[in-house]
Symmetry: C2
Subunit: 112 residues, 2 copies
């Protein structure tokens, strides 16, 4: 199977990738890949993304050392989202949190 | 906290929402919400999305009965992705699979 041809990239050339801890299934982050970053991910075994704000390829953990080793890759029924199970080194979030989803909305605090 | 004002919606007015089973942490699907569908989600306690293909609001399980009861909502460091923990009724995927991520890319089958 040629994964790159199997997938549907958005009009911006990107596909969202959900990054999940393979050990406890915690969702760590969501980032975007273009074909080149997916190719680099497959070839290296470590997650690479396209930064929409900086407009460049980046390897997760390139500067922080908090890399993500890819253990499995799934894609959804529409083939337009990836689910990547990883072995996360250190915290996934640049804030130092283990996951980027460290903030919870609590219903009742205030009406939406 | 006003969740709707806290979040950053994309230029298309949408925010991706990762839907995760609250019990076993399996990732079930990714879909998109606009402000209106998020409002309906918060008010009803069941997930509502914006369909990019059909260009309409939809309640998950509206026709299939496979609804998603919202148990918790998290948002990420950039406030541009939601993580919704749900109690899923029946399979989440329209194919009948429990999760939309039922296809796995196996490295080595063929080079990317």
């Amino acid at each position: 199977m040629n994964l790159l041809e199997e997938l549907t990239f958005g009009s911006n050339g990107l596909i969202p990738a959900i990054i999940q801890d393979a050990q406890d299934n915690e969702v760590l982050m969501l980032a975007y890949m273009n074909k080149e970053s997916l190719r680099m991910t497959l070839e290296s075994g470590f997650t690479h993304f396209w930064s929409r704000s900086r407009k460049c390829l980046w390897k997760k953990g390139e500067t922080s050392g908090n890399t993500q080793e890819v253990l499995a890759i799934f894609y959804d029924c529409d083939a337009d989202t990836l689910l990547v199970k990883v072995r996360q080194k250190g915290p996934a979030c640049h804030t130092g949190s283990r996951t980027c989803f460290y903030r919870q909305y609590l219903a009742g605090e205030q009406e939406p």
